[in-house]
């Protein structure tokens, strides 16, 4: 196996296993126990845990610090890094900081606009975009150099990832956009939550037709619906989210106290169908405010135990 990094996630994907990742959001405070608890809960059930970077622009404990907590307890973190808040000096600096703790995975994102968060009057930086951050990570790793051209002593060795939203508009550039992210240096992709399987399969067909699935590992994103209210909210209010009416109807068709289990069933059926889709290399399970359900999903989906 020709591995480029020490990443456990890369190793599992390269070995041909279906990888499983999940995510946890750092707390709105400085208590490390919140992170450690989530890490403890997930560590035997997933290969790596993404740590979000001030998601929805709400100020939280830093992604890097939370990743360090996870790393120190033996969990494999995926450092999510957005370009909204830091210029290229700070981004490179934080990449080195993460590498100094042997954090081996990074997910390069542009980040939600600050208007959605708790500091809507704040400046946004966007010195780079997500693709340019990918280029930066790969440049630092593969060329061993800073953007300014100087040599890096002990370059960061990170497995570089990016997000993809197969459902966002304009649909005609969805496959080209993935190709562009691969050209920028993406080695793994975690997708937006998938509810519209027909649409996802159409996208994956386009991806495979161009052979892109052989150049990047695609982890299909799934999120169990906790309730009908959540499904309706996501359909209506979350930009770039495609929730078909069938999902809403299924949840609406059962009594309220059974909606969570129905949401779970939909999620498991989704995983089963996605396992058969050519080009899917694993799953990214985002159980929003429902992390305790991840072990159950992994077990019931037949993805347990995880490979070493």
């Amino acid at each position: 196996m020709n591995l480029k990094t020490e990443s456990k996630l890369e190793k599992i994907l390269a070995a041909g296993h279906l990888a499983v990742t999940s995510e946890c959001g750092p707390p709105r405070g400085s208590d490390p126990e919140v992170i450690k608890k989530k890490g403890e809960l997930l560590k035997d059930y997933v290969d790596a845990i993404n740590v979000t970077d001030n998601q929805t622009s709400v100020t939280r404990l830093s992604s890097l610090a939370a990743c360090i907590h996870l790393k120190l307890m033996g969990v494999e973190p995926v450092l999510q890094m957005v370009t909204r808040d830091r210029n290229r000096i700070a981004l490179q600096s934080d990449i080195l900081g993460a590498a100094s703790f042997d954090i081996n995975n990074i997910l390069c994102l542009s980040g939600d606009h600050q208007v959605f968060g708790d500091c809507p009057g704040g400046q946004n930086v966007f010195d780079l975009d997500s693709m340019q951050l990918l280029q930066t990570v790969r440049h630092m790793r593969d060329n061993g150099k800073f953007l300014g051209g100087d040599e890096i002593n002990r370059p960061p060795r990170m497995f570089a990832g990016a997000a993809a939203n197969p459902f966002a508009e304009p649909f005609k550039i969805r496959v080209p956009r993935l190709a562009k992210k691969i050209a920028a240096g993406a080695e793994f992709i975690q997708t937006q939550c998938i509810y519209n399987l027909d649409r996802f399969e159409e996208w994956m067909k386009g991806v495979c037709d161009r052979g892109l699935h052989e150049k990047v590992y695609i982890l299909a994103g799934v999120t169990p619906m906790k309730s009908l209210g959540m499904a309706r909210y996501m359909k209506k209010n979350v930009p770039g989210m495609d929730v078909p009416d069938e999902v809403i109807d299924r949840l609406a068709g059962v009594p309220k106290e059974q909606q969570a289990e129905e949401g779970m069933k939909i999620c498991l059926e989704t995983i089963e169908r996605l396992k058969e889709v050519k080009g899917v290399s694993g799953f990214h399970i985002m159980a929003i405010e429902w992390e305790e359900k991840v072990p159950e999903i992994v077990e019931r989906a037949g993805l347990f135990p995880r490979p070493e």
Partner: protein, 222 residues
């Protein structure tokens, strides 16, 4: 052109109410087009300020005038005496004009009556939109003539974020997604494949980040 928007009367009143003799000076180029800063708007604003002074029982003498541009020495000749004879100037120019006057008349306070909002176009009468952020290194040749720096809320250079909805920006349903427009435009030009060309890291050295900019045309120098 430069687009501006008049500040609330209350804020303007707060800046001038401590003076006895105020020159209200319009600027008849850019900010007159959007009916915010020309001589006519200066006259209306003065009438409102006079009413405010009467209501407050404050004795302020307002004089109104206007010049073609407050950002060029030559145009100031007709109003130089009026400026010097005033305790303060309320300028209806953009931020450029206000500063130009402040430097020109070192001992006279100059207050802005406008918020300078953006560099934009007149889409239709009364409807102005931002088009340029004067980044100093134009990239419009590669983006089908639509600027993602000025028109994408995240100034993304390589394509749309995941938040575009029906061609609109996630932060405002009335705002076109710049990248949606760019993609449609590239397709119309038969250049959709160009979307896949990676836009390299941009140098912002010619932007605001590089510090205040100047431009010298040798043959125009005296």
């Amino acid at each position: 052109m430069i687009v501006g928007e008049q500040k609330p009367l209350e804020e303007i009143w707060g800046t001038v109410s401590g003076h006895r003799k105020v020159l209200v000076l319009g600027c008849n180029s850019c900010v007159a087009v959007c009916h915010q800063g020309g001589t006519k708007q200066a006259e209306i604003l003065t009438a409102l300020l006079r009413m405010q002074a009467t209501q407050d029982g404050t004795d302020i003498q307002f004089e109104v005038n206007g010049i073609e541009r407050q950002c060029e020495h030559d145009f100031f000749t007709p109003v130089t005496d009026a400026v010097k004879g005033s305790d303060a100037v309320l300028s209806l120019a953009c931020g450029v004009g206000v500063q130009f006057m402040a430097e020109k008349f070192h001992t006279t306070p100059v207050y802005p009556a406008l918020n300078t909002t953006f560099l934009g176009a007149v889409e239709r009468p009364g409807y102005f939109t931002e088009k340029c952020q004067a980044c100093g290194n134009c990239l419009l040749a590669t983006t089908g003539g639509i600027c993602p720096i000025a028109r994408c809320a995240k100034r993304l250079l390589n394509g749309p974020c995941g938040g575009v909805n029906n061609g609109k920006c996630e932060i405002n349903k009335e705002l076109d997604c710049a990248w949606h427009l760019i993609v449609e435009r590239l397709q119309a030009l038969g250049r959709l494949d160009d979307y896949e060309k990676l836009f390299p890291l941009k140098s912002w050295a010619k932007d605001r980040a590089g510090g205040p900019r100047k431009f010298i045309v040798e043959e125009l120098l005296p």
